[in-house]
Subunit: 198 residues, 2 copies
DNA sequence: GGGTTAGTGAACGGCGCGTCTCTTATTTCA
DNA sequence: TGAAATAAGAGACGCGCCGTTCACTAACCC
């Protein structure tokens, strides 16, 4: 029974357990109602073990989100079907917003005031970058095929779809559903980026 | 000295005082650090007077934001200069985000989880509607002049600029500056909506 | 002016914060 | 292998704020 009796965990082992507990709590009660004591209890850890690692709730949640993000980020290879590819990636982002990860972002937004802008930038970049990379790949593929205008490669445009998805999620209680994704795609993103070539 | 000795205020008088206090606190410490006791003290009111009117911090702040919004919303008449008009209205929105109003929105976002979607919709609509009305007016004017594509009148497109401004504000520590507004305008909004006619 | 309504101020129990202490498990190294 | 060092678990502590309650009083309404 080496499995069921972990004894007393330390270091990274313990850290992972705390992250999982935090994410589970996040899913259950949301960021606004997240209690350090609840996370500690769920992880069967002492509060001191939490505060030894992170100064406050915000940092713990950020760390937990980062930990989860490294597991989740997918590799994506454009298939040549521009609309299909975009739809797939957008649906993936929307789905992710329904997880504790989305709840972590909501919390991050709420506490953003007063955060030194370098810290905020660092974190935002960390979220945006992998997405931008994927969309950029799809756009570049489209440019090569002549279906996407080269001007669409500007970061502001590349980041447009994720920005609208995030806005949708933050602004409502739930992530965008398929219909919303289609609207964003057909009324905004595609008309803006495509050349008009079929 | 009828001014300096208000005596004991009641009803709407008191309510306004509480709103002003809440907005001032919001500006000073932000939503995350807003304390009901601080608002009460600042308004020289009893806590009970607050809880008699609103069940919690979130509702108080929503009410305060609504109160302020009725003062602030401008009438706007399109001048015929499409880019100039959009720029002006966008700058206005950005400026508004730097006020307690923006801080209220940040707080609203943070607590959105679990809110019944009708309530969330009602509030969101209340914010979006006046904006949509203004942008729709500008767009319609453009359509009439042949500078804007009729498809741009879809709500999703009309709401695009405000959505991106909100996203910018929520996602960073500050509202969009002039450069950011120009980028949004020249790389996203105008290319999407304009006919290509000068 | 007497009764009603509404606001003040203070006190209260409760909860979660962040710190600290005491005990115990795990690791390190003599 | 045994002792010292390190890190974790459990929980008590004081504090600040929550949301409620109560006794008192000012404002308003005939």
């Amino acid at each position: 029974m080496t499995e069921s009796t972990p004894g007393r965990r330390r270091g990274d082992d313990l850290e992972r357990a705390i992250f999982e507990a935090a994410l589970a709590e996040l899913a259950e009660v949301g960021y606004a109602n997240l209690r350090m004591e609840a996370v500690a209890a769920r992880a069967k850890a002492g509060k001191a073990s939490l505060y030894k690692r992170w100064p406050d709730r915000a940092r713990l949640v950020q760390a937990a989100a980062r930990y989860k993000a490294t597991e989740v980020e997918p590799e994506f290879e454009p298939s040549g079907d521009l609309r299909g590819d975009l739809r797939k990636v957008m649906a993936h982002i929307a789905a992710q917003q329904a997880t504790p990860f989305g709840e972590a972002i909501r919390g991050w937004i709420g506490e953003l005031r007063g955060t030194p802008s370098e810290v905020a930038d660092e974190l935002r970049t960390r979220i945006e970058h992998p997405r931008i990379r994927i969309f950029a790949k799809i756009f570049e593929d489209g440019v090569a095929r002549g279906t996407v205008r080269p001007e669409a490669l500007h970061p502001r445009v590349v980041n447009l779809a994720p920005a609208l998805l995030t806005h949708h999620f933050l602004t409502r209680a739930e992530p965008a559903d398929d219909a919303a994704v289609d609207e964003i795609l057909d009324l905004v993103v595609l008309p803006l980026i495509s050349t008009g070539a079929a």
